[in-house]
């Protein structure tokens, strides 16, 4: 019996080992980008020890937190097999509106000189509403006219940009950057109550964390979240199962828009001087972070932790490249290559599953 079982084990031993090798190869290929990025991060940390100093870590944390809400918004659109090219412009528009409404009263170049400084919370609500309306328009056009969000958001980003340029000429501004923000606003965003070493963690990191928790709840614990994944996986099957596909698409884009509003509000104070260029190309970084984090263009696949990982990894790499004094132009090439590799890995996963 013992011999028999040993023989059996020996006989079939090759197959599991072969399978194991295939599984290992699959795991290596599917995680090739993560492995590579982690190696690069370790190498940078060894060559430039200041890269892992408290100041640098807080910097990475802050930059990641500023980009997290927009990435969470775009991730919803990608889960629906769509995308959102208007995100960066929506962030820029919301940042400029927030900044214009929260300029200090005595500031010489105040955009609306007669406007008193509004309460911070009312401006948050205003920019979230603006973002949500912009998102709802994207969602409505996508769902009702059955258009791909790529073309819808390409159109809306131009409309938003044009509207923003016109907005910047209002009052006494004449198209200049909006700065001279009220202390209540900058303190609310950039103030701090916790330090790592001598580096203060800005308040917006905690807001971003709070939004992430809310989004995790929305994605995983609500009917809307489940409908979003169902529509992303197979919209016809979702429709047959009784899911209101049109409503779900509009809501996903509206929620994304509201998150762009939050990002705009954070960026307004973080940057301090807001122009029409604020938010430019933010959507590309966010889409890249989502793809790196495993939010699939196949639809219906994606996790909040993946989005967080994508945002943080991308940010660490770019802060690291800055530490290496890599030319800004070359950084674009590197970013493009990372996105291409992430897409190839995403497509590979889909083909293997098929």
């Amino acid at each position: 019996m013992g011999m028999k079982s040993r023989f059996k084990l020996g006989n079939f031993g090759d197959e599991p080992q072969g399978e194991k090798r295939i599984r290992l190869r699959e795991a290596l290929m599917n995680n090739a980008l993560y492995i590579f990025l982690v190696i690069v991060i370790i190498a940078i940390a060894i060559y430039r020890p200041r890269f892992v100093s408290a100041g640098s870590i807080v910097n990475i944390l802050s930059l990641s937190a500023a980009n997290l809400p927009i990435a969470l918004g775009i991730a919803g659109a990608i889960i629906l097999t769509g995308t959102d090219l208007s995100a960066g412009r929506a962030v820029g528009a919301c940042a400029c509106v927030a900044a214009s409404l929260l300029q200090a009263t005595g500031y010489a170049n105040k955009m609306f000189p007669n406007l008193p400084t509004l309460p911070v919370f009312s401006v948050i609500l205003i920019v979230i509403a603006i973002g949500a309306i912009l998102g709802a328009v994207n969602g409505f056009c996508t769902a009702k006219f059955n258009l791909h969000p790529f073309i819808v958001t390409l159109a809306t980003q131009l409309i938003i940009y044009g509207g923003l340029l016109m907005y910047l000429t209002l009052g006494t501004n004449n198209g200049q950057s909006i700065s001279g923000l009220d202390a209540s606003y900058t303190q609310f965003i950039n103030g701090s109550f916790l330090k790592i070493g001598s580096s203060a963690i800005p308040n917006f990191v905690w807001y971003s964390l709070g939004i992430t928790v809310i989004m995790w709840f929305v994605w995983n614990k609500t009917e809307f979240g489940k409908n979003m994944f169902a529509v992303g996986s197979n919209s016809e099957a979702a429709h047959v199962s009784g899911v209101n596909v049109t409503r779900t698409i509009i809501l996903v884009f509206t929620l994304a828009g509201a998150l762009y509003g939050v990002t705009g509000f954070i960026e307004g104070a973080r940057i301090g001087s807001n122009s029409a260029a604020t938010g430019l190309n933010y959507e590309l970084d966010a889409i890249a972070a989502c793809v790196i984090g495993g939010v699939s263009f196949v639809g219906g696949i994606g996790k909040i932790r993946g989005v967080i990982m994508g945002v943080v990894l991308l940010r660490i790499i770019f802060v690291g490249l800055t530490f290496l004094s890599v030319n800004q132009n070359l950084q674009y090439v590197i970013k493009g290559l990372i996105i291409l590799i992430a897409c190839a890995i995403d497509m590979r996963k889909y083909l293997v599953r098929k």
Binding site: L33, F297, V298, L321, V333, L340
Partner: protein, 34 residues
Amino acid sequence: MKNIYKNTKVSVKVLDGVIMAGITALAVIIATQF
């Protein structure tokens, strides 16, 4: 909205090659910056 990879004709082997080539290119670019 349709899955954008649905009509893809590429094989897994070709994609493996693309991934490895991309990572090699990235590694070379970044290594020259140290």
